[in-house]
Amino acid sequence: MSDDDGQAALPHWFDDDAGPVVRPYAMTRGRTTSPAQHRLDLIAVVIAESRAEETEADQTLSPEHVDIVGLCRDTPQSVAELAAELDLPIGVVRVLIGDLVDDRLVHVTRPVPPAELPDESILRDVINGLRAL
């Protein structure tokens, strides 16, 4: 499943199609779940904390951690967007976000709880918003 316009632009890396060189869960040191945030919803929004400025200098963070904080700093991002942007599996991104929450570098907003419809006024706003598109 390669990009349609992939032929136009030269691939960034030679043999990129063969897949990543590092196996995905190596980035999480083999962890597949994060104890604190084990079921992060795909549309949960990740927001960088104000103290997350000096992440680049933090030696305990992996480059992927730094990337996540960097992406969230300007605009809050959903878990799904982060995964797509970083080209990492959702499972890996979840673990990494869990680490960042533990370090209090980001916080996560809960989407509407499952089995519970959002407020009717929000639904009305959604309808109006869609109409106005």
Partner: protein, 201 residues
């Protein structure tokens, strides 16, 4: 809705996020539908599978390939600065049901896209949403060259609940897709109101 008070200074707005699923058989136009309204090019997230796909995915002749990738397409519509709607195209293959559960959790509702030439492809999706009481709308994607059927005929063929809306649409047209999404939200509202009523009286 509970908003946490932002830490001092100008913290970015914390948006309310909602999601609508787009389901249906393989090649019925799910990605097209997402792309028609999304403000971003449909992104994909991937999940690596190793064991689950092994009996099914023939990886013979692909040395070194031990995993198969399942991709979910998704798009985003920012309705307001603080209100964002995400559309998730469900993976078409039946064997990725476990991912559906993940996607369906907390979903506002769903669109089941159907092609009248192979209606049976969407049976599984209809079953899934009916069983979990997730509000859904059947969108009949009107392909060129396919016979048009009245929505009642489709409803009957799918043995749908009378209240489940069936709409004809064109997954390529933004306006048409907008209408379908509005139908989903309205249907979800109607179901929500009906569910609340018995408790209130």
């Amino acid at each position: 809705m509970i908003f946490k008070r932002s830490e001092r200074g100008t913290a970015p707005v914390e948006p309310v996020t909602l999601k609508i699923l787009v389901a249906g058989g393989f090649g019925v136009g799910k990605t097209t539908l997402v792309g028609a309204v999304s403000e971003i090019k449909p992104l994909r997230t991937e999940e690596n599978l190793s064991e689950a796909g092994r009996p099914v995915d023939d990886t013979n002749g692909v040395p070194g390939k031990h995993t198969t990738t399942v991709a979910m397409d998704f798009g985003r519509i920012t309705l307001r600065e603080d209100l964002v709607l995400y559309l998730f195209g469900t993976p078409g293959q039946d064997r990725f049901w476990f991912l559906w559960d993940e996607l369906a959790t907390g979903a506002l509702g769903a669109v089941v896209l159907a092609d009248t030439r192979r209606l049976e492809d969407c049976f599984a999706a209809v079953d899934y949403f009916e069983r979990r009481s997730i509000p859904f709308v059947v969108g009949v994607n009107c392909f060129e060259g396919a016979t048009r059927y009245p929505s009642d005929a489709v409803r009957h063929a799918l043995d749908l609940d009378e209240k489940t809306p069936v709409v004809l649409c064109d997954a390529r047209e933004k306006e048409s897709v907008k209408e379908v999404l509005i139908d989903v939200v309205e249907h979800a509202m109607a179901i929500g109101a009906a569910a609340r009523e018995p408790v209130a009286t």
